[in-house]
Structure formats: C-alpha cells, structure tokens
C-alpha cells in the first residue's frame, strides 16, 4: 500500500506555510536538550540544518566523509543564489519566482513546496549578510544582482564565481559556533553505511570511521539525510569525486521511496572531455551566459578548418556563425534553461558542427561583451575615440572582475586564453532533481527520517533553474526543517536516550560488517574504478541527454550484467581496519550499480519528454520536448523490494491550482 501523503496544508497557496508554522507542535527548550538529531552531510542543506537545530537547543551529531564540513561539494557552486528581493525593481515577486521555478521545472514539481521556497528566499539573503557573507556589491554599497537562465528578471545574488563557497563557509561558521558550544558533535571523515530503525522509526545510523575503519553505532530521535545528489552514477560529472548516493540509497532500501530518479540535469556549459584519463568534469558557470554568446560555424568547411587548426574562431565572419540559441529561442536567447541549451548543443554537434577534435564542443564567445563593456568603461573614464585595442583592454578588465576565477580555471585546464579566443564547452552531468521522496515537512516515507537539499526531490521538478540549488539547500536547512522536525519530535519528549545496544543496532552493524568483509575477501581482478567507468558509459549513452525505449531496455540489461560482474570480480586492496579509499569507493559504486537500473526503469516508464528527461520518441518536428500532462502529471515514487529493476511504483498526482499547465516555450 502506498504511504504517499504529501501533507500539504490547507488554505490559499500564499498562506499555507504561515498557517502551517502557526499550528504545528513545538518542543519546549528544556525538552529539546534531551533530543538527539543526526545530520548526514554538511553542505548547504546539512550544514545549515545542523547549525539551526543546534541553535534551537537540540543535541546534534553531524557527519561528513570529508576531512572538514567546510569541504562539502556545495562549496563548488559558482554562479549565485536566487531570491525574490526585487532590489532591481524589474518586476520580481514571490509569485514570479514561484512561477519561474514551476515552469522551469516543466510542471513536475509541487506547487506548495515551490511557493514556500520562493517565500523564504528573501530571508536567506538577509541571513547570509548578517553572517558576514561577502556578496558582490555596487558602488553605492548595496547588493548587486545578475540574471540566470529561464527568467527575465535579475534576482541572482553572487560572490564572483564562488557563491557556493561563500554561502557554505557562512553555514560552516554557524556550525563552528555550535561546535564550539558543544551543541554539535562533529564527525569528520565518517561515512554513514546503514540506517537503524526501531519500531518502524529512524533511530540511528551505523557509520565507519574512515581513518581507523572502526564501525560505530550512533543513536538519535530523528535522522536527516542531506548527502547531496547522485550525478556520479555517470562517473564523469561536475560532482566531487566523493559525492555519492550511499546514504540516500541505504534509507531507500529501508523503506524511503525514491522519487523521479531519471530527472538528471545535464549542464550546458562545461569544459569538454579531453581523454580517457579524465576523472571529472569542470563546470563553467551559467552566469557566463549573461555575457557569452554560444555559436558554431554555419558551414561544414569552416568546422573542418577549425578542427584542423587552419582557421581560428575569430577568422569566421559574423555572417558565417550560427548563434543557434539566439536563432531558435529569440525571447530568451543564450539564457534559455539548462535542459534546452544542452539539447540544442547536442543537436548541433550530432549534426556535425562540433568545433573540437572529438566533435563534441561549441563556442562560448565573450568578444561582443568585452567590446560592449570596454566602450562603457571608456565612456565612464572619459577616453575620447579609444582605439579598439584600448576598448578590448578595458572590456577585459570588466570581464575579469566578474568572472576572473572561472577564466583562470578554464585557462589552467585547457591551456587556452579565453580572453582572446572563445571557450569551448559541452554539456555534462551536473545535478539531480530526483531524490528521496519527502512530504511537505521534508519527511521521507520512514517516520523520523528526513531528506533535505539535493538529496530530496521536492522543488525543481524535471529541471532546476540556475542559482536555485543554493536557495533550496539553505531554505530547507535554515528555515523549513527546524520548524517541521519539531512537529514530529514533540512526540518524543518522553522517549529518553535511544540505546545503541538494541538488537536493531546489532543487526544493522552486522550487515555493514558482512559487506565490508565481502569486499576485503573477494580477491577479484578488476579495480572499483573499472566498473564505475563502465557504468558511467552505459548511463551517459543510454540514460543521458536523450533516451529511447530500446536504449533504456539495453541499459537495464547491461547494468544488471555489470552488477553481477562487479560482485564476482571486484578487487579491493588494503585492509578494513585502516584508512582505505578503495574500500569506500567499492561501497559507493555497489550502490550506484543499483541506482542506475532504477533510473533507467523510471526513464522507461515515463513516456513523455519533460525537462531534463528527453525521450526521443516524444518530440516535435523541430526537436522540442513533448510533455504528456494527461498521463504523467505525477511524481514517480519507487519502493525498494529487493530488486531495483522490479521496484514498486507509486504515483503522487500533482495538482495545479494556481498555475495553468502550459507548453513551456522560450521562443
């Protein structure tokens, strides 16, 4: 039987959250001290949740696999964070941010959750400024904004190309304050390997100390999973090397439904793959599309000449360039949402217009912006009749101030100067909209187990808009979870400390030890990475930017075969009782090998194209996605039953009471 109850509060959309907050149960301060909460993951969602819960008075245990909470992968988010502040007076509002997010998500997210997100967005900026986050400012001393894809206002707050870093360090400093006070017990270099359930409720975790290999039991009255997304199932992605699905997958196997696993975001502007040795892909922020124009040559002979180095990009005349996004989507131009921009790049490259040796790259060109800014700056500095060199010089200074760190990263990786010649970019896996199913309170289908940030599925539908991940992570952790978790914990004030000697802990620990022992004794012949790379290829080819039924069926077969091979032949060196990164990877890849199959199954079941999920069978003649609202306006929530390929599907119907379902158009 389905356990799906979204628990969306009654009342008009704009009042739901306020009403809900006013009516949920609270835990008094004296009782909070008696309640333990485990938070797994210390990125924007986990870090902000841990800090806020500790401030409220709960006893928090926070876990991260990195050597410090400050290193969670939120740190790498570049472009910015959205908030409906309307500082620019350009027509922004809570409703417009809500509307843009629902539309950007291709009408596959929950109205009430998204509205709440838009509602608390402004508070996030206030909060971060109060913490000393150094956002970019204008000369008058007020905060600056820029634009991101899929919107027509400037609502993105930023700190150069390092916004994620600054926000995470803000959350980390809030955590540090609570660590210093003893309200957060921090477990660095620890990995959660199992959820412990007692009487049907989440009551603790089993974690491995990654330095000593010790297996530890930790109990709590509630467990929050904020361990991020699962993009690394593709092997190559913009995620950090350690990013993994293990915490999410463990709770899934214990009864938490996994929602919309096929909704993955392929980011249009990443540095292209250079060879087989590649271990990860590097993002070039979407903010660059504010000023960069994307193009490929119109003529095949120019493409050839560029690939062979006979012509340089700047030798191609303006009329021989195809600014294909501006051509296809004049209303939004280079700032169409990510899914649309990625598919358009793939379309041009598949048609043979890719500009590098592999044929998988397009140009992102800053020369017009450099000239435009240069002229502006020359005027401000009162330089009469500046030469074109002078203009370009001045323009480069402006671009450097805005995107300096991104340009430097590009130059170091590619060995090419993007101030002089256009960047080459190609889409890459970046973010996962799918994740653990949660209700309005962010609770999963396991009582007492919560999921926050990228780990849950709730706010971005089938496609996330740029600069919204940071917004959601902090909204969940600072402003949503601290309220909603109290409602559940109010029933736990008399429970007392949960003992880790319970048989449930013993059993969970045993299963963790068995798995570790298996890896250590397997004596196979292939490294973990060998299998991970193979899985990545299957996922990218068949469950990537474009999918079809035949390919998805093949992917399911291939993944099952690879999984069998993995268990037979994986080789893990070293010992269990020491620092052993290969052992860590083995556990993570084992989980990816199950998740990958569920993603393919979900993609196969969803017979429509929406957002990041593009099924080749469902497209218009011009190659635009065709959604099927009559049959697929639902959240696919999967229940584990022992075999990921035979998971049970439950549907949460999405009701649009405030927004009319429309074909998404950016033309």
């Amino acid at each position: 039987m389905s356990k799906l109850n979204s628990r969306i509060p009654e009342g008009p959309l704009a009042e739901k959250w306020t009403n809900h907050k006013s009516h949920i149960n609270l835990v008094n301060p004296a009782n909070k001290r008696l309640i333990d909460i485990i938070v797994v993951g210390t990125g924007l969602a986990g870090g902000s949740a841990a800090a806020s819960l500790a401030e409220l008075g709960y006893k928090v245990k926070a876990f991260c696999f990195q050597d410090s909470p400050r290193r969670a992968h939120s740190i790498a988010a570049q472009g910015g964070i959205n908030a409906a502040k309307n500082y620019q007076n350009d027509g922004d509002s809570t409703y417009r941010l809500f509307y843009d997010t629902i539309k950007g998500g291709d009408y596959r997210s929950r109205e009430a959750n998204v509205y709440r997100l838009a509602e608390v967005s402004a508070n996030i900026i206030d909060q971060c400024v109060a913490q000393g986050v150094p956002f970019a400012r204008e000369y008058g001393g007020l905060l600056d904004n820029r634009s991101f894809g899929g919107v027509q206002v400037s609502r993105t707050f930023y700190a150069k190309g390092q916004t994620g870093q600054q926000l995470l360090l803000g959350a980390y400093s809030a955590m540090s304050r609570q660590i210093g006070k003893g309200n957060i017990q921090m477990f660095n270099r620890h990995e959660m390997l199992e959820l412990v359930m007692v009487d049907g409720k989440a009551r603790g975790i089993i974690a491995r100390n990654l330095i000593t290999g010790e297996i530890e039991r930790h109990s709590a009255h509630a467990v929050v999973i904020a361990s991020g997304g699962y993009g690394n199932v593709f092997y190559l992605s913009t995620n950090a090397m350690g990013s993994n699905v293990t915490a999410s997958w463990k709770i899934h196997k214990k009864g938490a439904y996994f929602a919309n696993p096929c909704f993955t975001q392929i980011h249009p502007t990443c540095i292209p793959v250079s060879g087989d040795h590649q271990s990860k892909l590097t993002l070039m922020s979407e903010s660059l599309r504010n000023d960069g124009r994307i193009w490929v040559p119109k003529k095949k002979e120019d493409v050839e000449a560029i690939r062979s180095g006979k012509l340089r990009p700047r030798d191609i005349k303006e009329e021989d360039r195809d600014y294909y996004l501006e051509r296809r989507y004049p209303a939004f131009g280079n700032l169409v949402p990510r899914d649309v921009a990625s598919r358009a790049a793939k379309e041009r490259c598949d048609a043979g217009y890719g500009v590098n040796a592999t044929g998988e790259a397009v140009f992102l060109d800053f020369s017009s912006a450099i000239e435009r800014y240069g002229r502006e700056k020359a005027a401000v500095e009162k330089i009469d009749n500046p030469s074109i060199e002078k203009i370009r010089d001045l323009g480069k200074q402006v671009i450097e101030a805005k995107y300096g760190n991104l340009f430097q990263m590009y130059e170091k990786i590619v060995d090419d100067n993007p101030y002089e010649t256009p960047m080459k970019i190609y889409p890459a896996v970046h973010y996962t909209m799918g994740g653990i199913w949660v209700d309005y309170n962010l609770m999963t289908t396991i009582p007492g187990c919560y999921a926050a940030g990228e780990a849950n599925f709730s706010d971005h539908g089938a496609n996330r808009l740029g600069a919204s991940a940071l917004m959601q992570g902090l909204a969940d952790g600072y402003f949503v979870l601290p309220y909603t978790i109290g409602d559940y914990l109010s029933n736990d004030i008399r429970t007392g400390k949960i003992s880790t000697d319970l048989p449930e802990f013993e059993e969970a620990e045993k299963s963790v030890r068995e798995r570790i022992d298996f890896f250590m004794n397997n004596k196979g012949s292939k490294s973990v990475d060998h299998f991970h790379k193979k899985l990545g290829k299957i996922m990218w080819n068949e469950v990537g930017m474009a999918r079809n039924a035949e390919g998805l069926k093949k992917a399911i077969d291939d993944i099952r075969a690879l999984r069998d091979e993995f268990w037979k032949d994986v080789k893990v060196p070293g010992t269990a009782n020491s620092f052993n990164p290969e052992l860590e990877k083995a556990g993570r890849v084992a989980d990816f090998l199950e998740l990958g199959e569920l993603m393919a199954l979900d993609a196969l079941t969803r017979n429509e194209s929406c957002g990041g999920h593009f099924r080749e069978e469902f497209q218009t003649e011009e190659g635009e996605a065709v959604r099927d609202d009559a049959h697929f306006t639902y959240v696919a929530a999967w229940e584990y039953n022992g075999d990921p390929g035979k998971a049970n599907l439950y549907k949460e119907e999405l009701k649009y009471e405030n927004i009319e379902l429309k074909t998404r158009s950016y033309k």
């Binding site: 902000s48 806020s52 990195q66 050597d67 410090s68 909470p69 290193r71 740190i75 790498a76 500082y87 900026i125 206030d126 909060q127 971060c128 400024v129 109060a130 913490q131 000393g132 150094p134 956002f135 970019a136 400012r137 000369y139 008058g140 001393g141 007020l142 905060l143 390092q162 870093q165 360090l169 980390y172 400093s173 540090s176 304050r177 660590i179 210093g180 921090m186 660095n188 950090a240 090397m241 350690g242 250079s274 060879g275 040795h277 590649q278 271990s279 990860k280 430097q408 990263m409 170091k412 990786i413 060995d415 600072y478 490294s527 990475d529 080789k571 060196p573 620092f579 990164p581 290969e582």
Partner: protein, 250 residues
C-alpha cells in the same frame, strides 16, 4: 611522457614513513596531477600493492582537500592553483617528481599523503563566525550599505579554501595567513565588527594551542597560496590583536 616518482609512504600516524620510488609512463600533458596519481594507483592495484592514499574531492580547486607537497612546493610548481588544478604539461618527459604530505606539527600524517587538518576546524570553532542565529529574523540585507572596496577586500580574504598550503610552506609552520584571512573578512564588514576583539583573541589563542608557529614575515605563504590570499591580512590581524589586547576584556 614517462616520469619517476618518489612518494612518501607511511602506513599510519604512529608508523615510520619513507620515500618509495615508482615509475609511470604514457602520461599526457592534459592530465591533472591527481589523474596522474590515479594512473599510478590503478597500476599498484593491478600488481597487488596498496595504492597511495591522498586527499582530494572537488578536483576543481575550491574544496581545499588536496594537499600535496610537490618538488618542495605546496601544490607544486604552478602558481595560483591547487594540486588538482596542476596539469602535467608543467613537467617534462623523464622528470623525477618528489611528492610528500603537508608537513607541520599541527598537521599529523594520517597515512601516506593524507594529513589531519582538524586543527583549522578548532580554530574556526574558537571564533571564526558572527554570533547571529539563523532565524531569518535579521534586518533587510540592504539596510547597511557596505562600501564596495570593503566588501571586495572582505571577499578576497574570504576566498581562503583552508587547504593549509600556508602552514606547509612556512618555515615556522605558522597558520597566520589562514587565521588572518577569516579575522580580516569579518573585521572588514560591519556585521563582524561587533565582536571583532573577542574573535581575534580567541582565534589566536587556539592557533597557538594547536602548535602552529609564529609569523616572521617571510611571505612564502602568500606566494604558495593557491587563492592569492594577501600577506596584508596578517598585518591587519596583528593590528586587530594589538588593539584588542590593550582594550579588550579577555
């Protein structure tokens, strides 16, 4: 290209370590330094040896996790980059490369090239924050205008990634560049000024407790810092510390 590697191997914190020789071949200039180590590790796994343990995560120069000391320099010969962003095109065929962990009393070795930098977390917990609850009930973000030069300078200090290259580079194993970056960021902003005195005193006290040395203005930290954190932050911290010591309550 083909390379000789001399790598520090140490099984755990209490066991002695030594340099061990390895060879890697067919290394492409487009590989990052860590991808070259990946190649070596695959090789070691194949021949049933234990791979070299090293810290790494984002591999795009921002998480601060990677921490190798390469040919006598933190993060290797390139400027303004972390080890993960160092590319093999900076080396030549036939080169011998020495790879060691970040060495300092405050950073004990965990295994091979992995060191324990949790001392930085403890320094942060001593005062690297603004004491404001995350209730969201603060004033509007634009209520206090901040002069752009101050905001920019605070941002420059705030870009520190906490990798510890400054400590590893400093002949005194001083953590003053790291600590001063946080002290400066918050001292430059009106939100952080309120408790600036208490902060600098507490953070410096914890820094000393952790066994980091003092600053003797050599400036090597600034040169090796992958994020270009300026030495002037240390000067600012010293000013803050002096004024807090004279007028503060602690």
């Amino acid at each position: 290209m083909n390379l000789k590697l001399k790598i520090w191997r140490q099984p755990n914190a209490s066991a002695p370590g030594k340099m061990v020789d390895y060879q890697v071949s067919d290394i492409s200039g487009d590989m990052s330094f860590l991808e070259m180590i990946d190649v070596l590790n695959e090789q070691l796994i194949e021949t049933d040896e234990e791979p070299v343990a090293f810290d790494h995560d984002c591999r795009e120069g921002i998480c601060g996790m990677c921490s190798m000391y390469i040919n006598g320099e933190a993060h290797g010969p390139d400027r303004g980059v972390t080890t993960c962003q160092l590319h093999m095109r900076k080396f030549k065929d036939g080169d011998t490369i020495y790879i060691e962990p970040f060495r300092a009393k405050g950073f004990p070795v965990i295994k091979d090239l992995v060191v324990d930098r949790s001392a930085f977390d403890r320094i942060m917990a001593a005062g690297g924050f603004v004491s404001v609850n995350t209730s969201g009930n603060t004033m509007d973000a634009n209520a206090i205008p901040i002069p752009k030069p101050d905001a920019d300078e605070a941002f420059d200090a705030a870009t520190c990634i906490g990798c510890g290259a400054c400590v590893a580079t400093c002949k005194n194993s001083s953590a003053m560049l790291f600590v001063s970056a946080k002290v400066s960021q918050l001292a430059l902003l009106p939100q952080g000024k309120v408790e600036a005195k208490q902060r600098v005193l507490s953070m410096v006290e914890q820094m000393d407790k952790e066994g980091f040395g003092n600053c003797s203005n050599t400036g090597a930290c600034e040169v090796e810092c992958p994020k270009g954190i300026s030495l002037s932050n240390i000067a600012r911290m010293n000013r803050e510390y002096l004024s807090a010591s004279i007028t503060g309550d602690k």
